[in-house]
């Protein structure tokens, strides 16, 4: 058992190191901006004293290394800075109750997690069922129809699927609202109702991939001798797959599910924009457009961290489920 913990610890350490290097990449990228933040905040008509004041406030007069480490220290202690939009508002309107980036992101992060959770709740059972059925009736009309449909939905852009769903389920048959303006303190039923269309769009995108991998994993196993044995015993095909093939195919399937949840993070940006869902992706795109660097930086870091974490989880789960990987040569 000791070796398993060792491997997991190794992977975790590797993940932390990756995250550190990624934070460095993000820091360097942001600091490749021409001019500096002070000018970006104040705009063109800024006086020299004001620029110098803000530079000193933000610590821009220090060298790169010091700034990186102070930024990193702030990030670790949960201080992601204050957005330019907030600073601008404060300097123009004279307010002094600044809302930090953390307070801005927190509710949106929760909303995105809710969306991802609802999506996973639909996508995982549907894709496994479809994958098992497609493996069971492989090369039939059903298999081919599912294959063509999933291949088409993987390859379409997310916004195409989103608008088709809006057209069918919101405009032509008003079942769900096309704007998902959820807010905190909303009743769960209403929240689910409004989240339904973005969740369905993401489900379409993710299900296709998971279902194809489930099918491939099961078909891969069907050639093995113990399946042949089970068949010769006279068990029904459904039982062969559910009792004998599926448990052994679970490892690659779990791996694919984790990887697809990681993919959800990227897909969520476009879908949130289409449905005006108040998640972190929407905030990210809005900040990109107005070049609100602190928010962009923070969102980027969160996306990267979630992505690395989910990939790490896929890695660890596949090691745990496969005894051969537990004992590296």
């Amino acid at each position: 058992m000791g070796s398993i913990f060792q491997i997991i610890l190794q992977r975790l350490a590797l993940g932390v190191i990756t995250l550190l290097i990624v934070s460095m990449v993000i820091f360097v990228a942001v600091n490749a901006l021409p001019g500096d933040f002070a000018q970006a905040i104040l705009g063109q008509g800024a006086t020299d004293e004001a620029v110098a004041q803000i530079r000193a406030d933000l610590g821009l007069d220090q060298n790169y290394f010091m700034r990186y480490f102070s930024w990193l220290g702030n990030v670790v202690t949960g201080n992601l800075g204050i957005s330019f939009a907030q600073m601008n508002f404060a300097s123009n309107m004279g307010g002094d109750q600044l809302v930090g980036v953390v307070e801005q992101i927190a509710p949106r992060f929760k909303a995105t997690m809710f969306l991802a959770g609802v999506t996973a709740m639909f996508a995982v059972p549907i894709s496994i069922t479809l994958g098992v059925l497609a493996a069971l009736y492989r090369n039939s009309i059903f298999d081919r129809a599912v294959n063509i449909t999933t291949l088409s939905s993987i390859s379409s852009p997310e916004f195409f699927l989103a608008y088709i769903l809006i057209l069918v389920l919101a405009v032509l048959n008003p079942i769900f609202p096309s704007l998902s303006n959820v807010y905190e303190g909303m009743a769960l039923g209403e929240k689910l109702n409004r989240t339904m269309l973005p969740a369905l769009t993401l489900t379409l995108v993710v299900t296709a991939h998971m279902m194809r991998m489930t099918r491939a994993a099961i078909i891969n196993l069907l050639a093995s001798p113990y399946i042949e044995m089970a068949r010769l015993k006279g068990i029904s095909p459904m039982r062969v797959i559910v009792r004998h093939a599926l448990p052994n195919a679970l490892a690659p399937i779990i791996n694919v599910i984790a990887l697809n949840l990681a993919y959800l993070i990227t897909g969520v940006v476009v879908v949130e924009v289409v449905f005006v869902y108040p998640g972190i992706g929407q905030l990210f795109v809005d900040s990109v457009k107005i070049r609100d660097i602190p928010v962009v930086q923070a969102c980027c870091l969160i996306f990267a961290a979630a992505y690395i974490l989910l990939n790490l989880m896929a890695d660890i789960l596949s090691i745990l489920s496969n005894p051969r990987l537990r004992h590296p040569k």
Binding site: L33, F160, M238
Partner: protein, 399 residues
Amino acid sequence: MSWLMNLIFLLIVAAVVAWVFRFAGQKITGNKPFFRDMPFAVAFGYVVGLLVLIGAVSYYFRPVEVNGVPAAGVIFFRWAVQGFIGFAIAAYLFRLFGRTVGTSGTRKLFRAMPLTAAFGVLVILIYALVSIFAGSIAPYGQEEIFANANIVPGGNPMMGGDPNFPLGTDQIGRDIYSRLIYGAQNTVGIAFATTCLAFFVGGSLGFLAAIVGGWLDQILSRAVDVLMAIPALIFALLLMTIASVWSNQLGIDRTIFMILIIAMIDSTRVYRLARAVGQNIVVMDYIEAAKLRGEGMGYLIFKEILPNATAPLLAEFGLRFCFVFLTIASLSFLGVGIQPPLADWGTMVKDLSQFINFAAFAPNVATAPLLAAGAIALLTVAVNFVVDWMLHKSSGLKD
């Protein structure tokens, strides 16, 4: 919730009919193996499929207009079905054409081709032709602005259309049909150039790492690992933010920055594959022989390794093109990709998207954004079908 009750009721009916169908089949055919060994689930599947087919056909022939109000659902369904059948017939005819015309090699290729792959090849050919000859096909220029904005598609003056603009004009009066055609040139052309750049950079570096090995391989591979740890779209958005500031200051077009950024991000994925494929080839004897002959690095990469790595790289090229194309479309859709006045499908979808809300009473109006989005989807689906077929063929998978 009434539709849910109806659905459950229909499923129960289907289950009963399925049982009767199997039972009757067994009795009538005298227990033929087809019916005798049929699991209940299969019978149920047949019945549900039949029900869906009946429902679709009856929905298709519902009246288009009820009391002067257009039944939008029926109209959209007819368009979808007509498009689907039209493409299926076109793909079939194209495959038939390929089987009878051409050299024996191409005829053989077409004979073993599934319909989906024929459809893919046909669509790719059409897109290539349209994007090359966009200037002579499009009736107007992509930046030409006309006096009448927001002309409704359909070309019917009674409905607010104009026969001169078959797909109408957009919010500032540019012809949508011409912009769709130019969009093929811009979006597909830029995506193609980006993919080529990504392949050139990623492929050469990957092969170089495979040949040289050692510290160069280590440095490149670790750098690629780090870049791949950031989700592609997120990284592209971050870099585009910075590029937009740079492009204002340097006066260089933002589109060029976008090409470089996306090529950089995607070349990491190409590098991975090229290195893996290259490492399998480098250990071959003929590479050793070439090295002993004293051939240079360029010769080794382009004359010895590349010809032997074409098949996997070609399939990867198709998939990579799809990714690049979708990333560019998504960036443009989010407003930071290809910049106006260049016509581009992603931007068109974003600009015209609000017209979808009019679909219920004016189906024509909603077609413009869907056509632009559909144009993107059609090409990526087509490329994926072709790649799927190529992979299937080269892997020799039959099951």
